[in-house]
């Protein structure tokens, strides 16, 4: 449970606001960080913390694009394909990345559950296109070679994590 594991952090979040409801977005971020996505149970947990009906937590989770009510890959790639990035080759970059990961030309999740690729709306990095976020961290001035290197690095990291977990 979030409330047991993150008591201090949750207290700090509530202290920022005049009412409990205002803490909902921070708490949904916290829940997603902890569980990887927002399940029915985690939405109920956040709703209870904020003293609101679970439907309210559902509506917030559904409205904002960073919340996911379905599991994503361990590494969630969000590639900006808006106009400024597209003028600098982002559509081609997106297709190449999808092809490299074998997820079909419109994006999706790899069979091993490691990578999810999706297009995303403008991320305020238009001068460094093509660009994307991986789990909300910026990666800029990309091309197929640099992103391949990133994918390889993340694959190696994941393999190491798995090995460590099984030992």
């Amino acid at each position: 449970m979030l409330v047991e594991k993150y008591a201090d952090r949750i207290d700090k979040i509530f202290a920022k606001y005049q009412d409990k409801r205002s803490a909902m977005m921070d708490l949904l971020h916290l829940a997603q960080e902890e569980y990887g996505w927002l399940s029915e149970d985690s939405l109920r947990e956040v709703a209870a913390l904020c003293d609101v009906d679970p439907t309210q937590a559902h509506s917030i989770a559904g409205f904002y694009t960073m919340y996911s009510e379905k599991p994503k890959g361990t590494y969630w790639f969000q590639v900006c394909t808006d106009l400024p990035c597209a003028l600098r080759g982002a559509d081609d970059f997106y297709r190449q990345l999808c092809e490299y990961l074998g997820v079909g030309e419109h994006g999706g999740t790899t069979g091993d559950g490691l990578f999810t690729v999706e297009p995303v709306m403008c991320l305020a990095a238009c001068d460094k296109a093509p660009m994307m976020q991986c789990n909300f961290h910026y990666h800029e001035n990309l091309d197929l070679e640099t992103v391949k290197a990133l994918v390889d690095k993340l694959r190696a990291e994941a393999a190491q994590d798995q090995k460590a977990a099984s030992e």
Binding site: Q18, I60, L83, P119, L123, K128, Y138
Partner: protein, 436 residues
């Protein structure tokens, strides 16, 4: 000339508290709190005619002056939901010169005697927002934020709030709803945020853009008169121009308002790559009308009033440049896809209008458009403009109407009106998000 806003260009580690203070940082706040009563601070900013840098260009001092003095709770909210395609200036300010934003916010807070400041960062500024909290801690430890600021008896803390991905939250009333844990949808106005009933927690609230506030410390230190010597009388001060798209050196450029389009695009940003001609300019990201790159436009000064006279808006000064090879129908379709995705769904004309516009564009780009579609592209936006609670519906109409107006021949080729053959190399439009 030394930068006033992008000071990291002159002093790379100005993000550090000690460096910022060693270079005059927080002198503006000290001057405000120690030498002036709050009303005088409002008067100084009013006289400087600093205009809001988020897009609307509304005078900041006037916004501050609307706050009723007798309200028990008052707030300053910093709009850092920077999401307009082509805009990436607030991110640089918050990452590279964060203390100047914190200082500006505290001066605004002192001027209206705010009880708290909230910085609303778009959720994707995850790393930046966490770093910003550390910068605020540094200012708090130096008694510049928090209890009894600089011994004045006035207390005001700063909190960072993270959004979670929604362009609409850059609209101030939607932003306030989002801060309160509600859906990011605009409110009916009046009451306006500055009025009782309209602001954060329905208390009087000033909402200012990051860049607007970053101007304020300099104004306090150097005075309104000195500020007005930069720029033009109606559009004073420095401005950060974001340049992206088909350009040799994309990036942020700080120039006085009133510099010409040509200076920005060719002298500073290096012109158009590969010897191509510039065809279209979006001076305010996706939300303002496109301008054809004529000599008249290129030689015009970039001020709020002249860009309006040219038939567009300066907005947040996000210049997306498109060269001669750009398919303007495709470009408009990209922008419509954006607005359709970002429409919050509250007002029918915007929700339905953007949906139908996207379908029309898909049809045209597939080569299945008819002359009737071109008529629809003029009538649908007209049924959105002026009929929505916020400006998103207004914005979404702009790329359509302005590209049809200035580049009608390209549409005519697609729908088979023009005798010229259809473009053979039809660019693909990215599909909507596959799995959310």
């Amino acid at each position: 000339m030394a930068h006033i806003l992008l000071r990291d260009r002159d002093i790379p580690d100005i993000w550090q508290f000690d460096t910022y203070v060693a270079n005059g940082g927080y002198d503006g706040l000290k001057k405000a709190v120690q030498d002036h009563v709050p009303a005088e601070v409002i008067q100084i900013v009013l006289e400087s005619n600093l205009r809001g840098r988020g897009g609307a260009g509304f005078p900041a001092g006037r916004k501050w002056s609307f706050i009723p003095q007798d309200a028990e709770r008052k707030y300053v909210v910093v709009n850092a939901d920077e999401s307009e395609p082509g805009t990436f200036k607030d991110r640089q300010l918050l990452e590279k010169n964060p203390h100047q934003v914190i200082e500006g916010a505290m001066i605004a807070a002192y001027a209206i005697q705010a009880t708290a400041v909230y910085i609303y960062c778009r959720g994707e500024f995850w790393d930046l927002a966490h770093a910003l909290e550390e910068r605020i801690d540094e200012a708090r430890r130096a008694n510049l934020v928090g209890d009894n600021v600089l011994g004045s008896g006035w207390s005001c803390d700063i909190h960072v709030h993270l959004g979670a991905g929604a362009y609409i939250c850059g609209e101030e009333s939607a932003l306030l709803n989002s801060l309160q844990g509600l859906l990011g949808q605009p409110r009916v106005r009046p009451p306006f945020p500055a009025q009782k009933g309209g602001g954060l927690y329905y208390e009087p609230t000033v909402v200012n853009n990051v860049e607007t506030l970053a101007n304020v410390p300099w104004i306090l230190v150097n005075g309104a008169e000195a500020y007005k010597e930069i720029g033009t009388p109606q559009s004073p001060g420095p401005k950060i121009f974001c340049v992206s798209g088909h350009v040799e050196k994309p990036g942020n450029y700080e120039l006085p308002l009133g510099a010409t389009f040509r200076e920005l695009i060719f002298d500073h940003a290096g012109g158009i790559p590969n010897g191509k001609q510039l065809k279209g300019i979006l001076p305010s990201g996706a939300s303002g009308p496109v301008l054809p790159a004529t000599d008249d436009v290129l030689d015009s000064p970039m001020t709020y009033e002249t860009v309006a006279e040219l038939g567009s808006t300066l907005g947040s000064a996000s210049f997306i440049l498109m060269d001669e090879d750009t398919d303007m129908v495709w470009a408009a379709a990209k922008m419509i896809h954006f607005f359709k995705h970002e429409s919050c769904g509250k007002c029918t004309p915007c929700r339905e209008g953007t949906y139908w516009l996207e379908r029309i564009y898909d049809r045209i780009l597939r080569g299945e458009g008819t002359p009737r579609d071109l008529e629809l592209l003029e009538s649908v936006p007209n049924q959105m403009q002026g009929l929505t609670l916020c400006a998103l519906g207004e914005f979404a109409a702009n790329p359509v109407l302005s590209t049809v107006k200035h580049f009608r021949d390209e549409y005519e080729r697609y729908v088979g009106i023009s005798p010229a053959s259809q473009p053979t190399d039809v660019p693909e439009v990215a599909e909507p998000v596959a799995a959310v």
